[in-house]
């Protein structure tokens, strides 16, 4: 116990200077004053003692104030300490939040960059709309061309039929002439049936009911006209379809040309 007291006193004022010394001096002077004889000296000593006492009181008052101040400072520091603790925890949380944010932002950035990389590759390919437009234009062209082809084919069919008509007419006429020759050669023979057949054929071909001879004349006339037209239009360039396609019915074509070129002389010879 006294150890503690001694330790504390040594801590506070170990060197013997200051307050402790003053109190000791006061005590000593008090004892001396009690033992002193002279009154004026006693008075000065008394005054001096009062002064010392006042000093001691003053110093004690100061110490008390300092003690109060220290207590209040301690409280202040405690408060600041708790404030700082709180802000530290708040900062920790913010840091954790920001770290999550940064991860999210990095993921977003990665996605954006992947998108950009793919977009770069895609840009190298031609635009879809343009390609579609080109396709449409090509489609239209195709349709147009196929229409033209159809028209030309129809025309070709028509001409073929016309030529067929011509050839069958010519053939019939030839037959008729031969029959006439034959009937002329043996006059006894009469072939009304053939003429009748001829007229039926003529009717079926031309829709006219007339006598054999005028029918034959008409046939010759018609054939002549058709031949002339054929000569004018088709002879120089025999049977060419647009597009350089193969004309159908190759057997007919050379025959037609051959007939067309040889026929006038043949027919004229016969008729005249």
């Amino acid at each position: 116990m006294s150890d503690e007291v001694i330790r504390k006193r040594l801590l506070i004022d170990g060197d013997g200077a200051g307050d402790d010394r003053r109190i000791n001096v006061l005590l000593k002077s008090f004892v001396k004053w009690c033992h002193s004889a002279a009154p004026e000296e006693g008075f000065t000593q008394y005054q001096r003692m009062l002064g010392t006492l006042a000093q001691c009181e003053f110093s004690m008052g100061k110490t008390l104030l300092v003690y109060d101040m220290n207590l209040r400072e301690m409280e202040n520091y405690e408060k600041i300490y708790t404030d700082i603790e709180q802000s530290i925890t708040a900062a920790h949380e913010k840091i954790a939040e920001c770290k999550k944010e940064i991860l999210r932002a990095k993921r977003i950035r990665k996605n954006r960059q992947e998108y950009d990389a793919l977009a770069k590759v895609i840009q190298q390919h031609p635009d879809r709309h343009e390609t579609l437009k080109q396709l449409e234009a090509l489609d239209k062209e195709l349709q147009q061309l196929s229409r033209i082809k159809e028209n030309v084919e129809d025309k070709l069919e028509l001409r073929k039929k016309q030529f067929h008509v011509l050839l069958s007419t010519i053939h019939e006429l030839q037959q008729t002439l031969e029959n006439d020759e034959k009937s002329e050669n043996d006059e006894s023979q009469d072939s009304p049936m053939e003429n009748g057949q001829m007229s039926i054929v003529a009717f079926s071909l031309y829709g006219e009911t007339e006598e054999t001879q005028p029918v034959v004349n008409k046939q010759v006339e018609l054939a002549d006209n058709v031949l002339r037209l054929t000569e004018e239009r088709y002879l120089p360039v025999p049977y060419r379809t647009p597009g350089g396609g193969h004309p159908p019915g190759p057997v007919e074509q050379p025959e037609c040309c051959v007939w067309a070129s040889e026929f006038p002389h043949f027919l004229l010879n016969r008729v005249l």
Binding site: K106, R107, Q113, E114, A117, K120, V121
Partner: protein
């Protein structure tokens, strides 16, 4: 290990333990060194903590591939595949390992297919051998490459295996049927090809949608669905390993730096490292408090990065 041997040492591959506290690295002398990350990353770490806690000779020749499964460390070089128990390695014991039954010349890469618990091993005989991890039996062989295989990668979502080899072709195999689904000849694409280096593919990695491949041709990012190259990275030198990390691409190769690249084709930064040429880069994803990146190459130093932007310290063999 004399100073001359240390000078000529090359670290070929690394692997982190499943708990994330240890790093195993292998070199060209056939040794594996196990480093303790927790002690080397602790604030009171000294020089002694940057040395391995255990070094042992695993194979006679160089070890090219290291792989960690849940409990074992698989190592392969020229010949058999050995499996070491991580629990024993952590306790600084190297028990005799389990060895595979088949000898495959020059195994360059191994990869685990988690779907059917099998190991794909790419080797110098131009084939990929598939081994079942439970039984150790070699199930099948994927044939198709015309030259030895450098690297393997797993496309988790579709269950496909990618392999790149010396013949310049990246082949995509379907794991179940064992057939080659696609074949990409990277050197035939003008923008990637670098004929002065050759046509071999030495690094391959994928995250199911995108693929990075490089080697002789420049490192390029491919979109796997359309099989078209989207970005080419202007890195000089041949890249030996690359990986995707968050929004970056990290790659190492010739040259003493680790390159950070963006997916768009820009090289963001080149971080200098101590080995003059780098062979391997590994990121510890198994542990949150020891989240480090380590690079190793043609030196006995393995650089450790705690922050991706600069080297923190080096571990040495």
């Amino acid at each position: 290990m004399g100073p001359v041997e240390l000078l000529h040492m090359s670290v070929f591959s690394q692997s982190f333990s499943p708990c994330g506290r240890f790093l195993a690295a292998s070199n060209n002398y056939g040794e594996i060194a196990v480093f303790s990350l927790s002690s080397s990353l602790s604030p009171e770490a000294t020089g002694i903590n940057q040395k391995p806690i255990l070094t042992f000779t695993a194979h006679e020749g160089p070890i090219f591939a290291l792989l960690s499964t849940d409990a074992h460390l698989l190592s392969a070089g020229n010949g058999e595949i050995s499996a070491w128990s991580w629990a024993e390695l952590a306790k600084r014991n190297c028990f005799p390992p389990l060895r595979s039954s088949l000898e495959i010349p020059e195994i360059n890469d191994m990869i685990v297919n988690c779907r059917d618990n099998s190991l794909a091993v790419g080797g110098g005989d131009n084939n990929i051998h598939i081994m079942d991890l439970e039984t150790g039996v070699f199930k099948s062989v994927l044939q198709g490459h015309t030259d030895y295989i450098h690297c393997l990668s797993m496309r988790e979502r579709e269950g496909e295996l990618l392999s790149g080899g010396e013949d310049g072709a990246v082949r995509i195999w379907d794991c179940r049927t064992g057939q080659s689904v696609h074949r990409l000849e990277v050197y035939k694409y003008e923008e990637c090809a670098r004929p002065q280096y050759g046509k071999w593919i030495s690094c391959l990695t994928t995250d199911s949608d995108w693929m990075l491949c490089g080697g002789g041709p420049s490192l390029s990012l491919w979109h796997l669905r359309s099989l078209s190259p989207t970005s080419i990275f202007p890195l000089s030198g041949c890249q030996r390993q690359a990986m995707f990390y968050q929004d970056l691409i990290l790659s190492v190769g010739e040259g003493h730096f680790l390159s950070h690249c963006l997916l768009g084709g820009d090289v963001k930064s080149l971080i200098p490292c101590s080995p003059p040429s780098l062979n391997t880069v590994a990121l510890n994803t198994n542990s949150t408090e020891h989240r480090v990146l380590t690079v190793g190459g043609s030196s006995d130093q393995i650089d450790v990065f705690t922050n991706l932007s600069y080297k923190a310290f080096s571990l040495s063999f």
